[in-house]
C-alpha cells in the first residue's frame, strides 16, 4: 500500500520513526512535496480561519496527498505527549479531528492514532499495533516494525546530536549511517535557531532563513540538535517547565545557546499567531539581557515578499560581523 505522510508539523520530528515502521511492513511512504505556493493556497482555503499558518500549511500537505488517487492512506497521527506530563499544543493535539472535519469526504483515508512519545516502548507498541491492525499486519510483524522504527529514530537523533539538521536527515533517510559519518561543515560564524522544527525547516514559509545564513558563511545550529540533558537546568529561569514539550526545547535550548561561547547570535522562528511562541520569545528576550547575546525574532505569516526578512537577516549578520571585529566591509 501507499501511505502518504504530510510534510508538516511532527513530520519534522518523528519522520524517521514513521518511515521505518511503514517500510518494515512493506508499504511505500509517499511524502508531500516541500511547501510551495499551491500547498499554501490549499492549506489556507481548507483550514479554519483563526489558526496558525503552520497548521494551515499542514492542511495543504494533507490535501495534496488526498488528491493523489494512488495514495491509500494519509498518516495524520495525534501526538498527545512527548514526555511524561509534557504535551503538545491543543491545535496539534486536535490535528486528526481538524483534518477529518476539513476533508470530510475523505475521512476514511485518514490514518490516525494517539501517540505518546519518549515514554518507553509500550505506548509505541499500542499505537503502532492499532495502525498495523488497520493495515492487516500480523502482531509479530508489527513488533518487528516498531523495533525498526525505533532504530531509525535513534539513528536520526544521533545525526542531530552530531550537528546534521533534520532537512539532511529527510534527504538521507535511506542511509542515516552514512550521514552520521559525514563531517559537519565548519563556518566563520555560528548562529543558533530556536523554535519549532516545523517553522524552522519550512524554507518556503520562513524565507529560507537557513539558506540565507549559510550563504553568509554562517553555520546554523538548531535547538532540536541539543540533548535535552544539556539544558535541563534552565527550568529555574522559568520557575517551572512549560506544558508544551516543543516550547521547552525552544526556550531552554535557546538559553543554552545564549550561554555558549561559540554561538554568535540566536534567532527565533515562530508563526505569527502562535500563543506559546509569544511566551518563549519573551523568555529569551529576558535571558538575552543577562547574556548580551544578539537575539532576533523572525515571525512567519502568510506573506510572499521576503524583502523585509532578507534585510533583517543581513543586518543581523552585519551585527555579528562587527562583534567579531570583521567590520562591515570586505576584509
Amino acid at each position: 500500500m501507499k501511505i502518504g505522510v504530510p510534510r508538516g508539523l511532527y513530520f519534522y520530528v518523528y519522520y524517521p520513526m514513521w518511515y521505518g515502521f511503514f517500510k518494515s511492513l512493506g508499504h511505500d511512504v509517499v511524502l508531500s512535496v516541500p511547501t510551495n505556493k499551491d500547498i499554501l493556497n490549499l492549506g489556507v482555503s481548507n483550514a479554519v480561519d483563526d489558526i496558525c499558518i503552520s497548521v494551515k500549511v499542514y492542511h495543504g500537505h494533507v490535501k495534496y496527498l488526498l488528491d493523489k488517487r494512488n495514495v491509500d492512506y494519509v498518516f495524520v497521527p495525534r501526538v498527545v505527549s512527548e514526555d511524561k506530563y509534557r504535551y503538545t499544543c491543543p491545535k496539534l493535539a486536535a490535528m486528526p479531528d481538524l483534518i477529518k472535519s476539513a476533508f470530510n469526504k475523505d475521512s476514511e483515508r485518514i490514518l490516525s492514532v494517539n501517540m505518546y512519545m519518549n515514554q518507553g516502548k509500550k505506548p509505541l507498541l499500542d499505537a503502532f499495533g492499532k495502525i498495523g491492525e488497520k493495515l492487516g499486519a500480523s502482531v509479530k510483524s508489527v513488533k518487528k516494525a516498531v523495533k525498526e522504527a525505533m532504530g531509525y529514530q535513534e539513528k536520526a537523533v544521533k545525526c542531530l546530536r552530531k550537528g546534521h539538521n533534520f532537512a539532511e536527515i529527510v534527504k538521507n533517510i535511506r542511509n542515516l549511517d552514512k550521514l552520521f559519518d559525514e563531517p559537519v561543515k565548519e563556518r566563520r560564524y555560528n548562529v543558533a535557531l530556536a523554535g519549532f522544527p516545523y517553522d524552522i525547516y519550512d524554507g518556503y514559509m520562513n524565507g529560507d532563513v537557513i539558506k540565507h545564513l549559510e550563504e553568509a558563511n554562517v553555520r546554523v545550529v538548531i535547538t532540536d540538535m541539543l540533548n535535552p540533558k544539556l539544558y535541563k537546568h534552565y527550568t529555574k529561569y522559568m520557575i517551572k517547565d512549560l506544558f508544551w514539550h516543543q516550547a521547552n526545547v525552544a526556550a531552554k535550548g535557546g538559553m543554552y545557546y545564549m550561554d555558549s561561547k561559540d554561538i554568535d547570535g540566536v534567532i527565533t522562528v515562530s508563526s505569527f499567531n502562535c500563543g506559546i511562541g509569544a511566551i518563549y520569545e519573551k523568555l529569551l528576550d529576558l535571558y538575552s539581557k543577562e547574556t548580551n547575546k544578539p537575539l532576533m525574532h523572525i515571525v512567519v505569516d502568510e506573506q510572499t515578499g521576503d524583502a523585509g526578512l532578507v534585510t533583517r537577516i543581513e543586518a543581523f549578520i552585519d551585527l555579528i560581523r562587527v562583534k567579531r571585529g570583521d567590520g562591515l566591509v570586505a576584509s
Binding site: N217, D285, L295, T304, A307, T311, E314, V329, A330
Partner: protein, 353 residues
Amino acid sequence: MAKKMALGIDIGSVTTKVVFVDEDDEVLEGLYLRTKGNPIITIKQGMVEAYETLRKKYGEFEVIAVGTTGSGRQLAGVVVGADMIKNEISAHAYAAIREVPDVSTIFEIGGQDSKIIFIRNGAVVDFAMNTVCAAGTGSFLDHQAERIGISIEDFGDYALRSENPVRIAGRCTVFAESDMIHKQQMGATSEDIIAGLSESLVRNYLNNLARGKELLPTFVFQGGVSENIGIVRAFERAVGHEVIVPKNNKIMGAWGVAMLAKREIELTGRSTNFKGFKITELRHDTRVFYCDGCANNCEVYEVIENGETIAYWGDRCGRWSNRLTSKVNTHRNEGYSSVNSVIPANHAKDDAR
C-alpha cells in the same frame, strides 16, 4: 586634478535619496526626492540634477565608489553599478555613529517602515523593524495632513502650538483615524489633534519596536519624519531626554552607504563598478513574470538595459538569477554585494524616458 567623490543611493518606499560625499566623507550634495512609483527614473533624475550642481561647483570630478541601500537597493545597484549593496539598518547606523559618535539609540522613521537601532560602543548590538503593521510611519502622517487640509511641512508647527493634546488610539492607524474623526466632531482643534496624533505615533512606535528594551541616551532621530518638530518633541517627552536630529537627518542611509562603499573600495583596492553618468541616458525596463519551472510559481523580476537583460531576482531556486552570474556577480556570502559593470556595446539613442 579631478575631485574624487563617492555616491550613495537610498531607494525607500516613498522617497529616494541621492548623496555625493568627498574624500573626508562630508556631504557635497544630498537630494531627497519622491520615488513616485518609479525608482529608476527617480535615480536618474537625481543623478542628472546632482551632476549639474556638482559640475558647477567643482568642475571635473570622478566617482570612485557607489553604494545602494533601502528596499530598492538591488534594483538601484544593478542600474548604476554598485560596489556595495547594503541593508538600510547597517547604513543608517553607520552614518549616525559618524555624526554622533556616542549615540546609543537611533530612532528612524521613513515613509513606510520604521526601525530602532541600539548602539553600544559604536557598534550595533540590537535592532528591530516594524513587522506586520505600517502604522506610525511617514505615509500615515502624509495622509492625515491631507485629510485635515494642511501641508505636511506645517504639521510640526501645528503640534507645537497645541496646549492640550487629545489622546488618540495609537494601536492601529485605522482606529487612530476613526478616533481622530470622533475628536474633531467633538470640537477639538486641529492643533490639539495633530499634537495628539504625534504622541500616539511615538507611543505606537515605542510599543511596537522598543518592546521593553532599555532606551539609553544619547538619542538620535533620523529619517524623513524627523523633519517634523512635533514628533521630535513627542519623542523627547516620551523618553524624558533630549533627542538629537543630525544635520543630514533625511539622507542618513544614502550617506552611510556612500561611506561604506568608499571603505570597500579603499580596502579591496578594486576599481569601482560605477557605470558612469551615461546610464541616465540608457533605457531601463523592468518586467515581472511568473516562472513556470515548478509549483512555487515565483514572481521573477527582470531588469533590462537597452534591450539586454542585466539582472533577475525573485526566484527561489536560482534558475533565473544564476543565468547572469558571468556578468552580474552578487557576493551575498560575504555580507555585502557587488555587481560588475555591464554596459552594452552599442548604446541606443537617448530615449528620454
